[in-house]
């Protein structure tokens, strides 16, 4: 508080000077605008996410969740993938929700599958893809299938090799059993929002910096070759950190590329990007994020390439 109050006063006094300084530097104002774009766009979805995670804290105890989920791993992650597909959401909101659902054993794998499936395989995103690629329904099918497979594979991978001690971020324990439902809800939502929003700032700043330093044009010049195209588009998806409802329009405008690298862009983006990596670090811990995010990146890239070669082939 001793820092915050003077800080606000200084910011208010120097606002005019700051504004003029930013306006005078084109790159700085672009970075600022892109940062605000990513952050403001994510904010409502993050809000929705923490409301859901607050409700989970109140109503869904780990024991209850374990009762609901099928006992067998395969059935559990399949259930999670399907329920993710039914909920239109955004990747920023699904990270805190997945953290709340996360538990031992089967529930852990199911929560991670849900986290990957919810933003990528929902009706809103698939309709946006159909609009962006008119006359190419194979693209929509390929996106849905590849994203679903990625989510299922990552759930299975976690249940096979994942270790709970990578999850270093603990949720505050519900110590006060006589607390009202509202208090439990508000404390959970507040905690998750603060945690996620701090890391969202990091992710949005990284996306803004990349936007200014590495214009997408650079990538498109590299991408005539299939393997090179797939790799560059996968990396572009990570650094641009677009939301899953918009990325299809960007991909459809990259007309110099064949469809397969563009499909990779659509499958990798909602599963892993700089913003999601930052959010996962905040909600689960660094040891988890540094393992899970690269693994997701590899799986999503390979699955999207394979599905793309089968379904859209050499189309442009």
């Amino acid at each position: 508080m001793q820092v915050l109050v003077p800080g606000v006063v200084v910011a208010a006094v120097s606002a005019g000077a700051l504004r003029a300084f930013v306006a005078g530097h084109a790159d700085l104002s672009t970075a600022g605008t892109v940062f605000c774009g990513v952050f403001v766009q994510a904010l409502p979805f993050l809000g929705l996410g923490v409301v859901v995670s607050g409700l989970i804290a109140v109503f869904v105890s780990p024991e209850r969740l374990a009762r609901w989920l099928p006992q067998r791993t395969g059935a559990a992650i399949l259930t999670a993938a399907v329920s993710g597909a039914a909920l239109p959401g955004c990747e920023c909101g699904s990270v805190p929700v997945a953290r709340r659902l996360f538990g031992d054993g089967v529930a852990g794998a199911a929560a991670l599958t849900f986290m990957l499936a919810a933003p990528a395989v929902n009706p809103v995103v698939l309709v946006a893809t159909a609009v962006a690629f008119p006359g190419q329904p194979a693209m929509v099918a390929a996106r849905g299938i590849a994203s679903l497979l990625t989510a299922l594979i990552m759930g299975a991978v976690w249940s096979r090799w994942g270790q709970l001690d990578w999850i270093t971020r603990r949720l505050p324990a519900a110590h006060n059993t006589d607390a009202s439902k509202w208090t439990v809800f508000a404390e959970a939502a507040r905690h998750d929002f603060l945690q996620a929003a701090s890391y969202l700032v990091l992710g949005a700043a990284a996306a803004a910096a990349m936007h200014v330093l590495v214009p997408p044009v650079v990538f498109t010049h590299l991408a005539g070759h299939l393997v090179l195209g797939v790799v560059t588009m996968a990396l572009l998806a990570v650094v641009l950190a677009l939301c899953s409802e918009a990325d299809a329009f960007v991909a459809s405008s990259l007309t110099m590329l064949p469809l397969v690298p563009r499909l990779v862009f659509l499958v990798v983006g909602p599963a892993v990007d700089v913003k999601l990596f930052a959010l996962q670090t905040g909600m689960f811990g660094r040891a988890f994020a540094t393992r899970f995010a690269p693994a997701t990146f590899v799986v999503a890239t390979l699955v999207a390439t394979a599905v793309g070669l089968v379904l859209v082939g050499g189309g442009r």
Binding site: A11, A23, A26, T30, G32, C36, V40, R169, P172, A186
Partner: protein, 240 residues
Amino acid sequence: MSRETENALLLLLGLATAIITISGVYTRYVKPSLLPWLAAVAVLLIVLALSAIVRDLRRGRDDKTGSDEHTGHAHRRGIGWLIAVPVLLLAFVVPPALGAQAAAPIAITLSPNELRQPFPSLPAGRAPEVSLKEVMKRVALDSAGTLNSRLITIVGFTLKADSGTDLARITIFCCAADAQLGRLHLRGPAAAAAAELPDNTWIRVEGTIAPPGDAASPVIPTMTVSTLTPVDAPANTYAY
């Protein structure tokens, strides 16, 4: 950082969100359709912050024993201060809307005939106003030739290109991070007047879109301009 500081930052972020929502500044960063969601999240953040502050005050008055339950690791780290960054940007710096140099320029690919669909005809009238995005869509996808030798009106800003002056408009799909720059080359009798205007001058032009032929590579359509009038910049410079 202390729990009080966290609550204060949460409150400030909620207020900053409310300010950009009410003042309309948010349209520099995201689509106007996000308005109800932004309003809702601003209320949510303010309510969460105020209720935490009230709870702490009550508990502080009742007893001091409850304080250790909130000294978890999350509150000892300084990362929470990062929330001050968007507060500073949104409430005080307020970065401007994207300029032409910041958006990814796009050319359009002409679809082969079998993928084209007939578009509905343009509104009646001498020169109906059509958005630049709609023009590009019709050039790329329309099989009914609705733009052929039809006089239309388009609003956009000037942008110097290698071969003359272009009419440009920035389109965003979701937020400023996915901005794209749509362009038309201006030619014809009134194009010379456009060349004399500095970049980023908002103009309204009347003219016809030249048939793009059947180029295989992406093209930027050309407009034959008959009249050109400078206009005021719109409050919201993006198209959607």
